[in-house]
């Protein structure tokens, strides 16, 4: 923090707060809180989020939160907080790919790296005490945390600017992670480990999801609920037709006949604070412009290598002569032109594009000036 005189925290939510590492200490809150209610209210205070029960819809509040009475169940791209490789037994691997030049239409130097993420998980929020992810591919809980849910800002965008973050849009965790799946599927039925489960779906029982999948000839169901103790949840597994159930995950074991119930208690593995980007905007600078260029999704439409895209390329744009729609005059893309084109994109429309094509992003002047400096730092296409 000491390097940043001005911190921009991109977050939405009705009362989003700037979260300093030092102020943010949900672990200590949970450790010392005796009362469940106190825990809830403190957690809400820290999160700056309202429980979803007060608002039935998923809103522009990018930090939605369910409750015990009205859990929130969302399928989305979800963060992978470093889950054991063996857990992804039924996923396939995304590989390093040669970088592609849209300008040349060919592979180019460099590699595109696959990033962490869970493609088909279902996230459940039951209030500040419990959030977890049930995966529809592996048919098991992947991880659990408390003290918040997810920050969808990079994926859903905020209300005014709208855009997702280019290439870095997986929603972020909020809270304390205390359970991560380990090894192959921990469930055995009559001594036979579950290896190729097939997801069926879930039923909402007073809003609480009970997940279902097929494992061989059995239908397995699983419901997970919060408990009073911190870093804990209660899981109930049933199977039809009835059979001996056993759960073995790391050092944790549980047994049952037709029905198996256990409480898992873990300890804090990591703390997550949602989505934030830190840029030094004490004065306009090209580095900040580079970060904002991706954070505001500009790169979705404007290439920096001269290739055609949805909007004009920015390569070699600075100080070039531009043709405009509805005018035979050519204008120089100087600092004032670039500033105006971001601030009021429809004041002058580049040749070949319709009016009102680029939205006004409602940025601060220092952000626009940083973007201008960034655009001016981009070279001409080779």
């Amino acid at each position: 923090m000491e390097n940043f005189t001005s911190l921009i925290l991109i977050t939405t939510g009705c009362c989003a707060v700037t979260i300093d590492e030092k102020e943010w200490s949900p672990v200590s809150v949970f450790r010392f809180a005796k009362s469940n209610d106190l825990m809830k209210s403190l957690a809400l205070l820290f999160l700056g989020a309202l429980p979803l029960a007060a608002q039935p819809y998923l809103t522009f509040n990018n930090r939605p939160l369910g409750s015990e009475e009205a859990p929130l169940v969302i399928q989305s791209y979800l963060p992978d907080p470093g889950i054991d490789e063996a857990v992804f037994a039924l996923h396939h691997k995304g590989l390093l790919a040669p970088a592609y030049s849209p300008k040349e239409g060919r592979d180019t130097d460099g590699k595109e790296k696959p990033g962490p993420g869970i493609p088909a998980g279902i996230a459940v929020s039951m209030g500040p005490q419990l959030a977890y992810v049930f995966d529809s591919v592996e048919c098991r809980p992947m991880y659990a945390w408390q003290g918040g849910f997810l920050d969808f800002t990079p994926y859903w965008g905020d209300e005014k600017r709208g855009s997702r973050v280019s290439k870095d849009y997986v929603p972020r965790l909020v809270g304390s992670l205390y359970y991560k799946a380990e090894g192959e599927h921990p469930l055995s039925i009559d001594g036979k480990p579950v290896r190729k489960p097939e997801f069926i779906g879930y039923s909402l029982e007073k809003g609480v999801p009970r997940f279902e999948f097929k494992a061989g000839d059995h239908v397995v169901k699983s419901i997970i609920r919060p408990v009073k103790d911190s870093f804990s949840y209660e899981a109930e597994w049933t199977c039809e037709p009835s059979a001996k159930l056993a759960w073995k995950e790391g050092a944790f074991t549980a047994l049952g006949e037709g029905k198996m119930k256990y409480t898992f208690t873990g300890k804090s593995i990591a703390e997550y604070h949602g989505y934030q980007i830190k840029v030094d905007l004490s004065k306009a600078n090209a580095k900040a412009g580079d970060v904002l260029f991706n954070a505001y999704g500009c790169s979705g439409c404007h290439s920096t290598d001269g290739s055609k895209g949805y909007g004009p390329s920015l390569a070699g744009l600075a100080d070039s002569m531009k043709e405009l729609e509805g005018s035979s005059e050519r204008v120089k893309a100087d600092t004032a032109y670039l500033f105006e084109s971001i601030k009021d994109p429809n004041a002058k429309v580049a040749k070949g594009y319709p009016p009102n094509y680029m939205p006004p992003f409602q940025l601060k002047d220092v952000e626009i000036n940083s973007l201008v400096l960034y655009i001016q730092s981009i070279g001409k296409p080779e």
Binding site: V73, P102, G105, G115, E159, G162, P354
Partner: protein, 494 residues
Amino acid sequence: MKTLLLLPLLATGVMADDFFDDCYKIEDIKLPPGAPPEVGAIDFAPDGTLFVVLRRGDVLRAKPESDPTAFKWELFATGFHNGCGVHAISSSKIRVTQMADMMQVEDTDKDGKGDRYTRFSSGWGLSGNYHETNTLTGDGKDGYFLSIGTASHNGPVFSHVLGDYSPEGRRGRNFSAVKWRGWILHCDAGGKLTPWASGFRMHNGIYRDPDGNLWAGDNQGDWKAVTPLYHIEKGNFYGHPSSLVWDSKWEGRDPLAFYRDNLEQYNKDRTKAAVEIPHMEINRSAGEPMELPRNGSFGPFAGQLLVPDNNGKRISRVMLEKVNGKFQGAVTHFIDDHGLRSGNHRLRFTADGKQFYTGQTVRGWGAPAEGLQRITWVGGVPADIETMKITPKGFVVNFTKEMPDELADRSAWAFSSFTLQPRWVYGSDPENQRPHQIKEIKKTGPKTIEVELEDFSAARIYRLDLKNVKYADGKKRTELQNNMFFYTANELPQ
């Protein structure tokens, strides 16, 4: 600055504002406060209940009201991952195509909220890319056709993906690193999938017409010269190579690299668009096609296809005909502005065929061009070209109304033509542009003109610019609703 903005509008033929209001009414349907109106999909249940699927996962339902601000919305279900297709089986049971699969939601205890979420179909992959959305249309037999969108190079793939991964499919601008991206699949009544057609980039909208013909658009971009409208037939390849990595005939080969350097073979192998829709002038990004009711309940142009523009305040009107056994035809605007928002990509007619709803979103892409609007035919008929059909030597054009003499004069007509070659670049400019002199023009009926053109040949797109003549219509003097038309002449009639 106003004048600067007006010029391109004039050039794209926005005319006759007053008369539009005598024909059509556009209303904003108010969604409940607090619900971000990013409409991924809409459908009517048989009892008339309207379902609206929103990008963040909520599904709303309401019975339409005559007052567009008075819908009594209920939250029926929530939690879908960017659901872009919905089939409302009843007022309490729907199916939604989301990113990873197709889910069914049913309200089993009849408390007004879905409580039973079951997977109806799955089998396509999901790489972690934001662009991989999917949508549906019915197959007429309790099954579906599904369009499975590709990924964009503006987004990553995950280290762990859903389904098989192809290194060859990962290459390129829009790519198909996981199964069936860039395909249309058939999904039978039991949810079983069969690959149907390949070669799509972002066919955000698919439609089966009452004759059983299947239609899909695409988005101008790599391997899509402009906005195409395709007539979909089983086994065909529609031009975007990346999807072919999932065709066993291409196993171990890189179709993208191959076609990049073998355009001649590419042109032999691909099925061309039935109608090419110039993206600047008419439609930047095709949404879901939808036929205007054949019984005339929505007024003129009965049976023609509408194609919403996902990136413009426009809905296009396509005049199809079969020539030598294949569909082709003309396109112009149906609505251009007049209070229509951008983001149009889902259309549904009400059961009485007197209104249609348009669902709008730019899907997390910047401008809030989001929401739901309703268009009602209010009884008027615009002065416009009703049909434009090809002849061996030119066109026969029918107008909706008797023509003023000025319009029958050759000076009111200008024809030109061009060709399009899709390739790896993002959109292709028109090539081989040339004007066509009018050899002969004849008024063969009060509403009909026949034109013979010089140098008339197939495999070109013909552009017609009509002079904006005045029509005498009752007490008013009205103008042509549209004066720009494009005819894709893949074939000349034999």
